[in-house]
């Protein structure tokens, strides 16, 4: 993901902005990786909503640490409330043990890890955790592994790690199979004609207009919001 000129222009001033800094890429080796400012009081509301919907008992994070999401996820966990457990995605045995012995029942991970981990846990524990929150990379294909077909799954699409552009209401979370359907993540404005996404301006953190992958509007949800899907 290449950061816009608007983001590049503020890099030297980030240290003087009250904010939380997240990377503009999902890949640590990305030469285009720079920092993106979130408001210091910003929270991961879509995740908190999913955790509350699932009534999560314990939440395991299997996202790379450099994505800077632990604190945001912890705040989300406090709303349930439920404890957080950090599992290095490369240490699946400890993750499986945490599900069995550490009180965890919810996994927060990304799509490319979910299937691999579910398969491992199925083999080790003979049962797959019941709750999943899956982060899709905006420039990836958005789908859920078939091994999670009996689970509760909330999906969201992030432009950068920690910047959801699409998320699901409880009604959409029930749709495991088929093309995932989303709403525009709360607090942001989508401009269909330009296919851009505008983040809110608050205090010292400016608004950003960001290009996003093409999405298609597809009817109204029972919750009253417009539904979007990934454009093919």
């Amino acid at each position: 993901m290449i950061a816009s000129g608007q983001i590049r222009a503020i890099q030297d001033t980030l240290k003087s902005v009250p904010c939380r800094i997240i990377p503009t890429s999902f890949e640590a080796e990305d030469v285009n990786l720079v920092g993106f400012p979130l408001h210091p009081l910003s929270r991961w509301d879509s995740c908190a909503q999913a955790l509350s919907e699932f009534k999560s008992h314990g939440v395991m994070m299997r996202l790379p640490l450099f994505w800077q999401l632990e604190v945001l996820l912890w705040y989300a966990c406090r709303t349930v409330p439920a404890p957080i457990f950090l599992n290095d995605p490369e240490n699946m045995p400890v993750g499986a043990a945490a599900l069995q012995l550490g009180g965890m029942d919810t996994v927060v991970t990304e799509q490319r890890d979910a299937g691999i981990f579910a398969e491992y846990v199925q083999k080790e524990n003979e049962v797959v955790p019941k709750n999943w929150i899956i982060v899709h990379r905006a420039d990836d294909t958005w789908s859920v592994p078939t091994s999670l077909s009996d689970c509760k799954v909330a999906q969201e699409v992030h432009l950068f790690p920690g910047l959801p552009i699409l998320s699901q209401c409880p009604a959409l979370m029930t749709e495991i199979s088929g093309t995932p359907r989303f709403h525009i993540a709360q607090g942001n404005r989508f401009e269909p004609s330009a296919n851009t996404f505008e983040t809110p301006s608050k205090d010292a953190v400016p608004s950003f207009t960001l290009d996003i992958p093409r999405i298609t509007a597809g009817g109204m949800c029972v919750c009253g919001d417009l539904i979007y899907t990934q454009a093919l």
């Binding site: 890099q11 980030l14 240290k15 003087s16 902005v17 009250p18 904010c19 939380r20 800094i21 990377p23 640590a28 080796e29 990786l33 720079v34 920092g35 400012p37 210091p40 008992h57 314990g58 790379p64 640490l65 450099f66 800077q68 632990e70 604190v71 912890w74 705040y75 406090r78 349930v80 409330p81 439920a82 404890p83 957080i84 457990f85 950090l86 290095d88 490369e90 400890v94 043990a97 945490a98 069995q100 012995l101 550490g102 009180g103 965890m104």
Partner: protein, 424 residues
């Protein structure tokens, strides 16, 4: 400092009939009996110890003394002898107030210590912005790049991460900006200290002792920063923790007096509401060794200790006394700049001339042209294995074989094993 009344109240609380069964079961209290009341220090000292193996047999939900939802985080530590990991719940977010003695916090920190929200909460007290940057040891470059953008001036990290962060900091020319480094998880060797001072020349370096099973590290606060003259980590027990030292084999309680070395037994005091733990520990055997440094520090009016290492790997009983990693470290530090205090001591017993002798190979980090033969003789003469008995004395008596020194390049990642038994 915990008083007897604090400890007595703690025991009564953890053994009350409405408390989780953990301690009632451990102390053999039947279901009809009321809480355990201890009358004096003798009855305190007769309370059985608890350790990780015992805790591992009890499901986490049965070790939680507060509402489950109030737990902030769960942490894994390695299991005992091939068993699965042990999971410890934490609730407290405090414990780092002592940091302000060493640094004025106005800038963010790069943090690898668990758990990140706890450290962000600490910085929030000083309205520090931007927020904390989390260090990802698998992705050092990206983490340090974000830290540069945030303008960090401090590190809260595991000791082993220093050499992951250092090269990236040098690459970005940030070393002089770092003013405060806090280390945990492993002792900082002389050579690692020298490395840190070279890469981060303006930094104050401190360390604390913590244990995953004992909620809310740090258990101690640093007496003083590490310095060129004394790169030694000296710890004071924090308020809320009662620390006893025992002989790791006999379990005999040892006096807190200068030079005493024993296994750390911790009681996490939960009698004051602000110090409540999720899972209170009463006489918990940590497996970590401490050596009393001062019985009373004139600055902090509290006793202090240094950390020789783990019970399991930092001393070897041999005929004539005990060979201690800390003693080898002390000797190496006295031998000048051509050798660092990082080593691996490989120990075995060898049949020789009808008897069994101790054979030591000492793998050392050396610089320049070092006379290893001469170095080995110096180590033999200087290393005490008993009160008035050196390793050289043991060679003279035919108990030990001469030491062999071999150069090696140590890795800093993870915990270092300093004493390794190679079999007979």
């Amino acid at each position: 400092m915990s008083t007897f009344d604090d400890l007595s109240a703690l025991v009564e609380r953890v053994t009350s009939q409405d408390a989780p069964a953990l301690y009632r079961r451990h102390y053999g209290i039947d279901s009809d009996s009321g809480p355990l009341r201890i009358a004096d220090w003798n009855s305190w000292q007769s309370l059985p110890f608890i350790d990780k193996a015992i805790l591992q047999n009890i499901p986490i939900e049965e070790r939680v003394f507060i509402e489950w939802g109030d737990i902030n985080s769960i942490h894994a530590s390695s299991g005992t002898s091939g068993r699965p990991p042990h999971f410890s719940p934490w609730v407290r977010l405090d414990g780092y107030e002592y940091r302000t003695r060493f640094h004025t916090f106005t800038r963010p920190a790069l943090c690898s210590m668990p758990i990140h929200h706890q450290h962000e909460k600490f910085l929030d007290e000083f309205n520090v912005n931007p927020k904390l940057i989390v260090f990802d040891p698998r992705r050092a470059r990206a983490s340090v790049e974000l830290a540069r953008l945030a303008g960090i001036d401090s590190l809260f990290i595991f000791t082993g991460h220093l050499t992951l962060i250092g090269p990236e900091v040098e690459r970005l020319g940030m070393g002089a900006d770092i003013r405060f480094i806090e280390l945990a998880g492993e002792s900082c060797s002389r050579s690692l200290y020298n490395y840190a001072k070279r890469v981060f020349p303006n930094s104050v370096i401190v360390s604390f002792y913590g244990a995953t099973e004992v909620e809310n590290p740090p258990i101690t606060y640093p007496c003083r920063p590490l310095s060129d003259a004394e790169p030694l980590e000296v710890h004071h027990p924090r308020d809320g923790y009662y620390i006893e030292l025992i002989h790791p084999d006999t379990r005999e309680l040892l006096p807190i007096q200068s030079g005493t070395e024993g296994e750390i037994v911790i009681t996490a005091d939960i009698t004051r509401p602000s110090l409540q733990a999720v899972s209170p520990l009463v006489r918990y055997r940590t497996g970590d060794m401490a050596r009393v440094f001062e019985e009373k520090c004139s600055t902090h009016n509290n006793w202090s200790f240094t950390m020789p290492g783990r019970v399991a790997m930092d001393f070897i009983k041999i005929p004539g006394g005990v060979l201690r990693a800390e003693e080898i470290e002390r000797v190496l530090r006295s031998l000048g700049e051509n050798v660092s205090d990082i080593f691996e001591l490989h120990f075995k017993e060898i049949e020789d001339a009808g008897t069994v002798k101790i054979s030591i190979t000492l793998y050392l980090e050396t610089t320049g042209a070092t006379d290893l033969e001469n170095l080995a003789r110096q180590v033999e003469r200087s290393t005490r294995v008993g009160a008035a008995f050196t390793y050289a004395d043991g060679i003279a008596r035919g108990m030990y074989l001469p030491i062999t020194c071999v150069p090696f390049k140590p890795a800093y990642r993870g915990k270092r094993k300093r004493m390794i038994r190679n079999g007979s």
